[in-house]
Homo-oligomer: 797 residues x 2
């Protein structure tokens, strides 16, 4: 088998010497199809195409998703309970327009048959496209070269496109190409794992279809969620005149067939432009929606594929100016970091009011639900890289305040209670101790509001959206909390981030985040008295919030000198790590909650996350002691854990450990560390990689609306450079072992940013400022991880 | 409409002046069919027939059950978890042999049609039969009198029978009678209530059938639980010669049809003898099982219905000699008390190793599962009334030790963990915080063992069965508990009896019962060293049990001077009773666990039950303060609550409150207080009625293997007399306001029982002993119940 030269071709995949901007998979990776589909997923925050093969088969889990497009299904419980959701939203595929099938002399191109001479797919992180090149010899001995380029347009919200080229290898071949738009594509059901998807088969009912020449459109609706989806396709054919075309349309499938004989040297090129829209059924009749997407597909075709490619690259280029992180000294993690950021960038949109589900639009894991991953991990990154995307996501929360108020009322709580899992805005979680009881989500949303306002100074957002979110969540806390005889304000019976402990009292993370929520609401209400008045906020209510925040209980174990993750935690029995085999992880698949909950075993950063989010609530010594106490008890069975642990490890001086934890976070999907990448990417873990670098080694903190950096580099990074958006400025930070450099590359003479470097106030204006990197004090011995739970160790780059 | 005279007829229902031995329902009750079916259920601990009408329609929930006969079904969870049961046992009906349908001149007897001149059904608590008399005029104007008598034979385990008589009222009629044996009878699905049944339709597959003349047999098996059931019927026909018979048999229905014309004065009498057996499919082939039941039905017919009636009355008469409670001053509660005891007596069997499900065999509520109701409530009564029945139930637990050991291993626990809900021995509960976490069940079983041994002195039981149960449950506690820095032995993360609090630390009931379990196991192991050796018990293990028991933590609130139901309980926020409407009860149907769990609202006696079971662990003052603290916080949303509250209210001197709580317990089903009697009787509540009388007003305690009485009568009881079996003796206790009388009515000259009367040691031998009733000290003001939750107040009788 030889590898053919591909340089110069439009679908070129040859190396230009910098693999850090590309993700490459070859024939050897075809046995991990579902995982590759997630890694090669393309999206624009609105349309998401999984990286299935053009011909659709073999597949892992096909998927073409629209943000917010879901079906509703019933949920049954062996023992039902009041307030248990009776329905759940489940992501379902919109009609799939990515499919292009090829027959060579009557034999279908299938990578499992014939001879696969070359098979390479490349995700280009700067071009924003997925390229494929295949040289295939059919079982009958007929060779073809196939190149395809796929994109989901970042600037044009509804548009995705594929360019598909075939040429005979060395003898004439009879070709047939079917370009399909297919609704109700079968989705396999893989798993009993509770974290996997609930697949709804045949979710769509056909409502309308049109087909003429090279174009067509299908309109469908979901059965129960009453959503309507229209997808139009418009084709361009560039082929020898011997090739004929034929259209065919059934309720669930629109097909364009090309047939003809190609001689060596001839080429058939088919370009397909697709446009997607969905609305509530009440929003627009089928014909109107069809007209809309037909016009969008036509317009894309009129501009042409090269124009789409150019615009894609231009949008990405602008995005990377802020988003790129340069990490010298470790090419693998440099590439993984860019991969992570790329997926964050394409997961959201700056316009509108959509949010980012836990898997983005890259897979159907968690049923496509939005979880606290968004406000807890993704927005703390996007606020600084693409603040408009963060704003969109928070506007989405705001748009669903009515459902959150209803849910609070249903639960007998005040204010608003946002859903732990949802697509359409209503609670969809099926195990309340680890969902409804996780009230911290509401404080995470408030925290994201406060961060966005602090970082952008956005003058309208707080008035239009932010204050209401802060007030309604503050009301929740004030009503939920209990002023006990000790004078403290207590939050009983909640679940913090650590899902191996549930229904506890005074979870420190929850309490500190609620404190911030209460104070943030008080500040916002005072800053926007008109909004406060509209919401019926009286001065006494504001005073009550401040009192509750001041009196908030923070459990501390004076004997051990550490904070208690929740009241009594440090007195619980230890987990028997010595008797836990390595294949016992994740523990939740091998041990009952009965055992997990009552022991000092931590699934994911909880108290450590509190130290990241609320750094001013802990002294440096407390942080060091807390890290030393909790790291040996934290098993990182959640991908949300490594990043905050990395940040705190860096802060307390364990830089090697921090680097290894960063590596675990950033390689979560590229190395499929949790064996779950098949279901979609772990966007929170990918976001966590940026947090590990910027908050960990950059030492960035933002909890008091002041930007500060306490940078310190691990041995394995020679240079680290990143950027942040701060009040409209683009701040560039470059760290070497010797110095930190702060600059505003785009600054005019008036522009300036004030920040803190290792406790020194620094004003960065038109000229860069450099400051020395202080030595890292000896933190003492590195606290051990639980046996067998060290992060995958990496040699220095 | 006139009531016809019925005196002297075999189906007589006329009053003989003492309604306390009868439960009567007339036409007016036909709108509460399902409830009446439960109240009129007949059983013998092996076969249970609900009190459906002879003709089967209209019905509430038909049911003919065999103890231990169930189908298996899958259980799915919205979010699954390790150790969540994947299957559940569900009671299903065996083929129903009770059906006898009548057509009068072509029109079916149906109480909803025609004219119901008389309709009366009477459950005779001494005869052990259900009698019915109906005078019905068909829509066509043809009148008949129908009498039936139904019994499930107490002495003959497999046998049930019906005698059915028809006579024309005043004109000749054409009659058709179909006597059916019907498999896969349709069962309606009523409810979304989590406490209701999961109905499996068509649970049986036909395997064999035979029919000849007046006899026949059907053999079926369940689909998934692989159980085989055979039911034979044998008929006797006593009719004018004009009546012809015809048999018919399909896989699911065996039918004998009688047809003929009856003149006034003529009578048709059909007697049906049925015999039931079931085995595991592997146990006996269909034909053999068929032969067995045919022989049993034939033998019953050979003896005749009057012989069955006579034997039934004889068995009951002997049982009542011990079981009867005489309560002078309140005829309604006298009747209700006998009703309660009757159902306890017919729920179990003295032979074999079957237990008693929560509903007995009276309905399909809780899917027919066995819960802790058995050891927690029913056996504490039957141990004294029918000790052999208690022994059978404990032998059943012992027979399922293998599954309990497997479950413990699955959960990572030591020893044995018995299932919270089961029929076949495996855990079937679907909400672990209120089931698997309710580990106290294991101590309840141990407590039942210790009580049985103490009350009977049974020499073999402890060696054969009891020691192993005690040892394996002690191992569970010893492994589960945690010796904390304070030196205490703690049980973290469990759920006590109160299901409005879950996953708590150091639930006092659980801890004290575990202490008793540990000490009981240590004593038993030392008493039976051979058994201990077989179980691998070393002296060090026994010492460990004693140490753990001695160090057991018992949370106490020194400020309030009360025990904490669990650690921290008294510091939790209160429930807002002022804002809780009366129709908000039961709270679990209107409020989320999130709110219930974290507040001081108690579903059912928990700390109060601890004071009943472990009275020596509390001083009298503590008991009084604890009652005063917990009664206002206990909403009695469980029928398990009133009885222990009654006992403690009596002990601390609130005798009126105790009486009202007793009334609530004893009327649970006759007055359908919880609106759930349709699903089956609340055997634990009925047992609780006896506990309220004997342990409450009789002041009986037995926790230290010493029988003691601190009797005190409420104003509304003039005289209370009851009996207990104690080491083979029958002790009769008669209480009046002036004195207590203790006697052994059956005693020979050597017989004697030692007991304590209000702290005075009393030896009762061949002669009765009387002691004065001391005055009841003024207990101070009665603690209030939560608003709207006073027991239904009753006027003095």
């Amino acid at each position: 088998m030889h590898r053919t030269a591909t340089a110069g071709s439009p679908g070129a995949t040859a190396s230009d010497g910098d693999e850090s901007w590309r993700i490459r998979r070859t024939a050897a990776d075809l046995d991990r199809l579902a995982e590759t589909e997630s890694i090669f997923a393309l999206g624009n925050g609105w349309v998401g195409w999984r990286g299935t093969l053009d011909e659709g088969k073999p597949y892992g889990t096909p998927g073409s998703y629209l943000n917010g497009f879901y079906e509703r299904r019933d949920v049954a419980y062996p023992e039902d309970g009041y307030g248990f959701p009776q329905h759940s939203d489940t992501v379902v595929s919109a009609p799939n327009a990515a499919l292009i099938r090829l027959w060579v002399d009557g034999e279908p191109l299938d990578v499992r048959t014939g001879t696969l001479v070359t098979h390479e797919r490349v995700l280009d992180l700067r071009a924003g496209v997925l390229r494929r090149e295949t040289v295939w010899i059919s079982p009958g001995g007929h060779g073809v070269r196939v190149r395809s380029t796929r994109l989901v347009s970042l600037p044009r919200r509804p548009v995705a496109a594929v360019r598909y080229e075939v040429e005979p290898l060395d003898a004439a071949v009879e070709l047939r190409i079917c370009s399909d738009l297919l609704a109700n594509e079968h989705v396999p059901e893989h798993s009993d794992d509770p974290r996997a998807a609930s697949v709804v088969q045949d979710p769509l009912t056909a409502e309308a279809r049109r087909s003429a020449g090279l174009d067509g459109v299908l309109v469908h609706r979901t059965h129960r969620s009453a959503q309507r989806v229209a997808v139009a396709v418009a084709h361009l054919v560039d082929a020898p005149p011997t090739v004929s075309t034929d259209g065919d349309c059934t309720p669930d499938r629109l097909r364009l067939t090309l047939t003809g004989r190609l001689a060596p040297g001839e080429r058939l090129r088919l370009t397909k432009f697709a446009a997607y829209e969905c609305t509530p059924v009440a929003g627009m009749p089928p014909d109107e929606l069809a007209d809309l997407v037909v016009a969008e597909a036509d317009a894309a075709r009129a501009d042409g594929f090269d124009a789409l490619l150019g615009a894609q690259r231009a949008v990405l280029s602008a995005a990377w100016r802020t988003a790129d992180v340069e990490l010298d000294g470790d090419p693998e993690l440099q590439q993984a970091t860019r991969f992570a950021i790329f997926h964050l960038l394409q997961a959201g949109r700056p316009d509108g009011d959509r949010t980012i589900p836990a898997k983005g639009l890259t897979g159907n894991g968690y049923d496509g639900h939005v979880l606290w991953d968004t406000e807890g991990y993704v927005l703390p990154v996007l606020t600084y890289l693409a603040p408009a995307v963060a704003r969109s996501a928070l506007r989405w929360r705001h748009a669903h305040l009515p459902e959150a108020r209803e849910r609070a009322a249903e639960l007998g709580l005040a204010g608003a209670t946002f859903p732990w899992r949802t697509i359409g805005g209503r609670e969809c979680s099926g195990y309340w101790p680890a969902s409804t009881a996780g009230l911290h989500l509401n404080a995470d949303i408030a925290d994201a509001v406060l961060r966005y306002v602090a970082a952008t100074g956005d003058p309208d957002f707080l008035a239009e959206v932010g204050t209401e979110l802060l007030v309604e969540t503050a009301r929740l806390w004030h009503g939920f909390g209990h002023r006990a005889a000790d004078g403290g304000f207590h939050l009983y019976g909640v679940t913090g981030p650590d899902e191996y402990t549930a229904l506890v009292d005074d979870n420190v993370f929850t309490n500190l985040m609620a404190r911030r929520n209460l104070r943030g609401a008080a500040d916002a209400a005072e800053r926007h008295p008109d909004v406060a008045a509209r919401l019926g906020v009286q001065p006494a209510e504001v005073a009550g919030w401040r009192d509750a925040a001041d009196a908030m209980a923070v459990p501390y174990d004076h004997e051990r000198g550490v904070h208690q993750q929740s009241a009594g935690f440090t007195g619980q029995p230890e987990w028997d790590f010595a008797d836990t085999a390595e294949d016992d992880y994740p523990l939740l698949l091998h041990h009952p909650y009965l055992e997990l909950y009552r022991r000092q075993v931590v699934k994911q950063a909880d108290l450590v996350l509190a130290m990241l989010r609320c750094p001013g609530e802990f002294t440096a010594d407390e942080k060091a002691r807390n890290v030393a106490y909790y790291q040996p008890r934290t098993v990182r069975d959640s991908s949300l854990s490594a990043a905050p642990e990395a940040v705190l490890a860096a802060e307390v001086g364990h830089l090697d450990m921090a680097y290894d934890l960063f590596a675990e976070s950033v390689l979560q999907d590229l190395a499929d560390l949790g064996d779950k990448t098949a279901d979609g990417l772990h966007l929170a873990s990918l976001a966590g990689a940026w947090l590990a670098l910027v908050q960990g080694f950059g030492g960035m903190r933002d909890d008091r609306a002041v930007l500060s950096f306490d940078p310190r580099l691990p041995d394995r990074i020679d240079r680290l450079a990143f950027h942040l958006r701060w009040h409209g400025h683009r701040l560039r930070v470059t760290l070497t072992r010797e110095q930190a450099r702060y600059e505003l590359p785009d600054a005019g003479p008036e522009d300036a940013v004030e920040l803190w470097h290792h406790g020194e106030r620094v004003r960065v204006g038109a000229s860069p400022v450099t400051r020395p990197m202080p030595p890292v004090p000896d933190p003492g011995p590195e606290p051990p991880c639980p046996p067998g739970r060290r992060p995958p160790r990496r040699a220095a780059g």
